[in-house]
Symmetry: C2
Subunit: 555 residues, 2 copies
Amino acid sequence: MSNERIIYLPLGGAGEIGMNCYVYGYGAPGEERLIVVDLGVAFPDMDTSPGVDIIFADISWLEKNRDRIEAVFITHAHEDHVGAVGHCFERLGVKVYARAFTANLARQKLAEYGYSEDTVQTCSKWPETVTAGPFTVGFLPISHSIPESSALVIDTPAGRLVHTGDFKLDHEPLVGEAFDPELWAEVSASGVKAMICDSTNVFNEHEGRSESELGPNIEELISAAPQMVVATTFASNVARVKTLADAGVKAGRSICLLGRAMRRMIEAAIETGVLVDFPRVVSPEEAVEIPRENLMLIVTGSQGERRAASAQLSRGKYNGIELKEGDLFLFSSKTIPGNEKEVIRIMNNFSERGVDVVDDAGGKYHVSGHANGPDLARLQDIVQPQIVVPMHGEHRHLRQHVKLAEQKGRTGVLAVNGMMIDLSGNVPTVAEWIEAGRTYLDGSVQIGALDGIVRDRIRMALNGHVLVTVILDEDDEPLGEPWCELRGLPETGRSNAALVEVLEEDLNQFMGRAGDKTLTDDDKLEEGLRRIVRNTSQNEIGKKPEVTVVISRLS
Amino acid sequence: MSNERIIYLPLGGAGEIGMNCYVYGYGAPGEERLIVVDLGVAFPDMDTSPGVDIIFADISWLEKNRDRIEAVFITHAHEDHVGAVGHCFERLGVKVYARAFTANLARQKLAEYGYSEDTVQTCSKWPETVTAGPFTVGFLPISHSIPESSALVIDTPAGRLVHTGDFKLDHEPLVGEAFDPELWAEVSASGVKAMICDSTNVFNEHEGRSESELGPNIEELISAAPQMVVATTFASNVARVKTLADAGVKAGRSICLLGRAMRRMIEAAIETGVLVDFPRVVSPEEAVEIPRENLMLIVTGSQGERRAASAQLSRGKYNGIELKEGDLFLFSSKTIPGNEKEVIRIMNNFSERGVDVVDDAGGKYHVSGHANGPDLARLQDIVQPQIVVPMHGEHRHLRQHVKLAEQKGRTGVLAVNGMMIDLSGNVPTVAEWIEAGRTYLDGSVQIGALDGIVRDRIRMALNGHVLVTVILDEDDEPLGEPWCELRGLPETGRSNAALVEVLEEDLNQFMGRAGDKTLTDDDKLEEGLRRIVRNTSQNEIGKKPEVTVVISRLS
């Protein structure tokens, strides 16, 4: 029996929805040649990551083993799959492979870091393949909410793996390739060792719906609208943008795209040939000249992003265009958990302007890009994998997906980030635990999620910050009185005197009482001053602030 | 014609869901005698109000006019209606009126501030009334998700108003009074000038469902569960707690209540006689001795609150009880927008423990406590008010509710917080704009939402904080070098040297270059030092931190 093995190691995406990053390896234990599938991002929030720009998987393990990496493959151009290629390229230093549309967008990200076009290799779809060390990898078309989403057919000397990427089973996706069950059956006919499969919508018990269902509903809505119509969706959902635009044109309206991402995506889709027959669009300058009842805007910002077109239109003019009483705003999208408050804020802003807002509460104006429970079961029936490895999901999704596999009599394995799975035998086993985590891009610096930097920010936000300065002379005696500065704290508390004065008074008394042992010892002095600030604050304002003490010695 | 008028002034709740506070007045303009309906709270979040404990309406206008206030009436005991009575009592100094269950909980809140029991007057239900200046007020029973929720029938010399409070039209609410359409018709028969009406669920297009529908579904779920069952809901939803407990008993399980709020609510409901026939409960100590398949816990924390029983059970032991593989956890609740991430975190924690989580995605285990669109229309038909004034809703809810009234041929008025409406004539008019806002309870201090304190906290959280200390001697010459302390910032940036050292180096160079004009002028010096820190940081780490400069002069 061979000493070589196939390993699967999720570093991101197996324990959350977002920041996808999966590793496959083949070879002798510890010497496997590696490929990376997807380098995506997740988005920060004030609760856990204030001030952070974006989040991606901790790739330290890959960096340490960079000489073993053959290539990076990107399944599709969603940010949570391609968003980190630019930020990680220098640390990994290997070529990126993707299909044309995805490659176009990946190159833009690499260009931001000054990398040339040829860092990304454009690949054709299956049956063409790329050889990368012991792997032969093909891009197998599948439908999703972005063009050219592809599963990867990964052939190893020990068998075939299918990594689905994100997908739905849409036979009529309008833009991009339809799901082709015959092709999938053909690819799987020779036997699939493991299918590593999208889990996002596993809890949905209904069969997925096709993009093609939406057009008539949207057209009906637009036709009935008396004034301007504005619709938002993910810019990358090129099929939806086309559905919206086509419906608008059928309802006799000129189409105007607003928002940088919206225009960039449509351009990339046209350039790479995945989008044809997109209606002629008018510029914002032309749009303002068109009667409102003949105009339709398609705009960015379906998740309530503060600087996107939707949010700006809800607050006032954007590109010279302003919404008015009687206009209609359509969210042709689902709100991602965590974004509810921002989306609701926009809805209320529009309400104040008299704009009617329609969302997908009734299920008429949006379909998901992910396979539901019954679709996942159907794909298992087609591919007939020996092992099912759920990926792209929170723990609860992965667990439910394993249950689904087991109900169908298959072997399911619940592998979370950092769990290296040996897929060689009939029963998958845990080969090793790798330290997995999150990296924050913070301004221009990459920091670790557990470095304590963000924790300190959260503490300042919760507790406020008091700065104490004391000066000691050459004889270690206090020179002048302690000085306080407050940030993020009330000016007065219980005693109705200024908090800063109460603090300085108490600190000054402490300095007066302090003996040589304290005054000559920075740590002791700092500790004493901090304690005074925290206790006095607790008493005055009912909270204990963060404290920074600066001791200056003239000696 | 009389010079006197009826006014309605929402100070909280008309523009958001939460922090309800409404004022009614009768008398000559500017001299109206006033009553306050509800003093509720809203809850803070990291995005807008980090570190804040709770939020309530800015009552400055009421405080300024406290000699005109006759009484405070509380419609029901939900936190967003009663939560601020304790915090506001001293500033208003008037007696609080409520029915027995609500009064019981209001007294607990006032007791926290040391106020005696008789600050709250217990009222009987309609047809009994309370006279408060020119007003006669009666508590008209209506169903909701808490016992003894009541509408207020407010009689003035110029006609009758009906303030619905929060409600649903449940003919079989299990605990508390059923909606009684005959009684409501009778009360309305003599004519209702205006109905001020809950708007929370106006967008739901289906008729509301009764609490009584849930019992069989829940019993079925529990009966099929092989191991321990845990259910969570709002503690104040006494009917639901009873529905859960009854279902548990029918399925042969002992019931254990976990969480302080859960026990307190059930005790208050039993003490005040609104809850009868509640099953015998076991203590946590007894519970651990009971076989898992015979036990059901009913616990706090349906919204993912970090310190509530649900969250603690998801992380490990709580009161000696620990959940295991095969246990079932039921969310018999709806997740309030903004709480999704916390609730999902708990679901994933349970998933890691092998606990099966069931929520209300299928609509089987929860019904809302608020009237839906068709129910609001039905109530209008019964009450036949001359004017409909939507309250308790975001702007979009109020606007939709006005539309609903107008569709039924009634006068609707969209009044948001701070808009004083004159209801005297046939057409309501805006009498005045009052400055409305939010007050934050921050530790033990009440601060204004716009005081800048919380804004400073948010800035520190987003940008980090740099402290700069410089000392100048008697001749205004720098003594030693500038000193930096960083909080919430990366240790190193672009140049790979410690950020603190790069900053101190640049600051030192600035001090060396600075002329007398700068060194003798605190404002100029501070401005210069701040600019250096921000520019150098931008260059090194790609972000501009908050800066606090402390200049110490020995002169």
